[in-house]
Structure formats: C-alpha cells, structure tokens
C-alpha cells in the first residue's frame, strides 16, 4: 500500500472506541484474573465500566470532531473508572484532544502525534518508565513501531498493524518483569512471572485501532 493514506475521520475513531469497548467486554474476566494474580482483581471491571460509559456517551451525544470525541472519552473515563487505570486512560484521551489541532479528519502523522501526546500524558501522570511492568510497556513500543512504519512510508493501516504487533510483544514482555509501579510493585520479586493487566488492556486498545482505524483506512484506500 502506498504512502499518503487518507485521514482518520470521526466515524472511524468512534468505531475504534466501540471496538475497544467490545474487546474489553470480551476480555473482562481475563483482565480481572491477571489483576487478581498481582493486584486487586478489578482491572476487567474497571475497564468495562469505563468503556461502557464511553459508549453510552457516544450514543447519547455524538462529538463534533475528533478533539471533542477524545475529550469526552477522557473525561468519561476519569469520571467513571477510578483506580489507577481511570486517570491513566483518561489522561491518554484528554491529551490526545488538543494534539489533533482541531482537525476533523486526522492524517496519519497527526493521529500518531495525538497518540504520542496521550502516552506522554500517561507517563507524566504515572511516572512509569519502560520496564516498570505497566501499560507503558505495551503503549510505548506500539507508538515507536507506528512512527517507524509511517516514517518508512508504510500506510496507516500497515503501521497500525505493526503497532499492534509491537504492543502484543510489549505486553508479553511484561511477564518476566518485576513491577516497580502500581499495585503489583508491592509484590517485589513475586510479581515476576505474571503478565501485567494494564499492558494487556493497552494491547487491546492498539489492536482495536489496527482493526477499525487500520481497517477503515485500508477500505477507504
């Protein structure tokens, strides 16, 4: 596929959020079970509550543009989730909003820039570094792969697929890690050997992007 893929429109972004919500619903018990092993057994319920609220908000009041959509999503997550994942995923979307620069359709670079702003927000809020066994370990490699693919001239669809692969690898890489942030850090060495729940949900988020944004862009291409 050639460079210069068409942009990501509001509809596609909404499909992404709905796809993520569906994926979270499907993997709810898995996320909770992962959290039970090294946390407090609520990550599935937290993400499900949050993304259900996001979908409800979408149904109730469709956003005017991507910035509004991201802001509404971020605020909904902050308001409805709580715990560690609420402020973090909330901040992710809240920071994406201004990074769209008010565009109604996001070209691939703008979309990637917005995602990068989201990640920076997550890091600013949670202070996690790579290797701390958190969602950052899935998100950061994903965005690196995305940027690299786009820089190499790949289509957004392909770049998102690469990002999703990288997120999955980053998620898998959390298993041997000793947690240094979040609730799992209390376990010290005992946290090793368990996959991080937040990295798992983050990989679902990137996969949903590859599936819906990537898919839509590909179709549209």
């Amino acid at each position: 596929m050639a460079a210069g893929s068409p942009g990501v429109d509001l509809d596609t972004l909404q499909r992404w959020l709905r796809a993520f919500a569906a994926s979270v619903a499907e993997h709810k018990d898995e996320l909770t079970d992962l959290d039970a092993a090294i946390g407090d057994a609520d990550h599935g319920a937290n993400m499900h509550r949050g993304m259900s609220a996001v979908v409800d908000a979408l149904d109730a009041a469709p956003a005017a543009d991507p910035a509004a959509l991201f802001k509404q999503t971020g605020m909904t997550l902050v308001k409805s989730v709580g715990g560690a994942s609420g402020p973090l995923y909330g901040t992710w979307f809240l920071r994406m909003a201004p990074a769209t620069g008010g565009a109604t359709t996001l070209d691939p670079e703008t979309f990637a820039k917005a995602l990068r702003a989201g990640l920076e927000g997550v890091v600013a809020r949670g202070k996690a570094e790579l290797g701390d066994k958190t969602m950052v370990d899935a998100l950061a490699p994903a965005l690196d792969a995305l940027d690299a693919a786009l820089a190499a001239g790949e289509s957004l669809a392909d770049a998102l697929r690469a990002a999703s692969t990288a997120a999955d690898e980053g998620r898998d890489a959390t298993t041997p890690m000793v947690a240094r942030k979040g609730r799992a850090s209390y376990l010290g060495e005992r946290s090793a050997g368990h996959q991080d729940p937040g990295a798992t949900s983050a990989a679902l988020l990137v996969a949903a992007a590859a599936g819906s944004v990537g898919g839509a862009v590909a179709e549209g291409a």
Partner: protein
C-alpha cells in the same frame, strides 16, 4: 460466591442506601457517592476529606463525624473514587478554612486525588492540601516503587487530625500534624484467606489450607511471602518484628497499638493476637498506652489481621483521647 447482595454492579450504591437510612447523622449524595457529616461545612473548621475503594468498611464512612472526617468519597469495591467526586466533596466541606485531603497511598488514589485538587483549584477558590499516608512496612523497596501502602495508620491520622481540626487549627498546621502522625506510624498485615471481590465472584488468590500470606495488602493484593500456617505466637513476631525494626518506638509517651481484623476474623482471635503482640512489645520495651482491637479497615471477607503502631506524645495522646462521634469510633460524646 455467597454474599448478601443483588447485582454485584449495584453493591456499592445499594449499600450506601442502607447506610444513609441507618445514619441520620450523615448525609449521602447518592449520585456522587459522597458521604458527609450532616452539618458540613462546619463554620471555621478546616474540612477533612478522605475516601477510597469500598470493601474496607467501617473505613471510610464509619469515620465521618464530629472529631474526625467531614466527608468521604466511596469508590467501587477496591477501586479509588474519581476526581469529580473528590472535587465536589471538597467544595461542599469548605467553610473558608480550606480542605485537607487525607489520601491512602495507592497509585489510583493518589492520581485521582491529584486530579481532584487540580479540578478544585481550577473551579473554586478552595485551598487544598493533601497528605499521603504510607505506613505499611511490608513494602520494602519503597523508593523505586509505588511506595508503601496506606493501611491502619490512617485511623490514627484521621482521629488525631480530626480532633485538632475541631480546635480550629489551620490547614497547614493540620497537614503538618497529619504528616507527623503518619511518620510516627508503621503497620504490617497478614492473611489466612483471600477475599472474594463480588464483581469477580471467586477468591482473588488461592491460598492452600496450610499456608498464610505475610505482608498482605488491604485489597487482597498478595503479600511479600507465603509461609506455612503457624500458631498465633509465631505469627505475632512476623508482624511486630518488621514494624519495630523500621522505627524506634521505645521513646515518647508510649504507643497506640491497633490490631485490625481484616473482615472474617473473630474478635475472640483478635484479642488473643493482641495478647501475643503486647507480650512482644513488653519484651522490646515498647509501652502500649492506648489500644484499639477490632475490624476497622477490612478487606471484604478476608480472614487475617494487621498491627499498626503509632508513637504518641503528650499532644497526640490528648488529641487521640478527645471526643469523637462516628459510627466506627466513638467516645466522649
């Protein structure tokens, strides 16, 4: 899962409904899940706000009332409440003297309270200070992690700061006092069994019949290590020794000892544990002058206990003894 509830998703909301009816001295904002002293904001008094996930009852709402907290935000089970709740509560308990956030140190709670303070600063002119409570010595390498957890010491902080707030002390004095009580406190817990989070419906962890978790958290987070099931007189030092190793408690005017039940532990056993703990303190030259034994910071239906020790001095002792009228702690009024 055997629990007294309807849909697990409605547990917190429905429980607040019962709490509201049972306690006319409290006011419940059901939409925002905020529980207030009925007479908040109290004129001239700094407002004290705490809160956290549900499942720790009587913490946190059991400590609202004259001489203790002004309001509490209730989260989902084991999930920090959200900034909107905290900002709303902050606004409503500010009588003009400012609001102190007493935050239990968990990543979620800290981040949500941070965002709430940002919201409050942006939306109102309330002065907010936050003190993070982190007394749990089970977390060893606290420097490069989320730090030590806030556990039992919060009861001492909230009680003592609550009494000082009634005296009309300023926000910054109260924040200093909260930090001092927190610094004076250390805790360590253990679990005989896991709790069952209703939304999950099965125990958070599997603990064989002949093993216990030492250094357990209050959310069923697994502890630092598993050891074989042992008699009480062997368990007591596993809790007391790390606490005494972390801070010298032999000075001052004695200590407050708080033996907390995590939910399913009979009081009969908690008193026995206190006997074992007191004997160890005797040997170590630590003098308990105040004692609290009971289920005050629970983890749903977990069986186990924790011990918290707070160094007292003359001032802290007087503030601890000052009148308090909450459903969880009450004396002098």
């Amino acid at each position: 899962m055997k629990k007294l509830l309807n849909d697990p998703a409605d547990l917190v909301a429905e429980s607040l409904r019962g709490l509201d009816r049972a306690h006319p001295e409290l006011r419940v904002d059901h939409e925002n899940r905020i529980i207030y002293r009925a007479d908040a904001p109290v004129s001239g008094k700094v407002g004290l706000l705490s809160g956290g996930g549900s499942g720790h009852e009587p913490a946190h709402a059991g400590f609202i009332g004259p001489g203790m907290l002004d309001a509490v935000c209730a989260g989902e089970v084991f999930t920090s409440p959200v900034p909107d709740q905290m900002a709303e509560a902050t606004k409503n308990i500010d009588s003009g003297a400012g609001v102190l956030h007493l935050v239990w140190n968990y990543t979620g709670d800290v981040m949500n309270f941070d965002m709430a303070a940002e919201l409050a600063a942006a939306e109102t002119d309330t002065t907010v200070e936050a003190v993070v409570m982190n007394d749990d010595v089970a977390v060893e390498d606290s420097l490069f992690t989320a730090g030590r957890r806030g556990t039992g010491a919060a009861i001492a902080v909230e009680k003592i700061v609550g009494a000082a707030a009634e005296q009309g002390r300023s926000l910054s004095e109260l924040a200093d006092l909260a930090r001092r009580v927190n610094d004076n406190s250390r805790s360590m817990g253990m679990a005989l069994t896991s709790c069952t989070v209703p939304a999950k419906g099965s125990p958070t962890f599997d603990l064989p019949d002949d093993e216990i978790e030492i250094g357990i958290g209050i959310h069923g987070e697994p502890g630092r290590r598993r050891v074989p099931l042992a008699p009480a007189h062997e368990i007591a030092p596993m809790l007391v020794d790390p606490v005494l190793a972390d801070r010298d408690f032999t000075g001052g005017d004695g200590v407050l000892v708080f033996v907390n039940g995590t939910g399913a532990t009979p009081l009969l056993e908690l008193y026995l544990m206190y006997g074992e703990i007191a004997a160890l303190l005797d040997k170590a030259g630590v003098v308990p002058v105040r004692t609290l034994v009971g289920p005050y910071v629970t983890s749903l239906d977990m069986a186990g206990c924790s011990v918290s020790i707070t160094q007292l001095d003359d001032e802290l002792l007087r503030l601890w003894d000052a009148p308090v009228a909450t459903s969880g702690l009450r004396w002098g009024m």
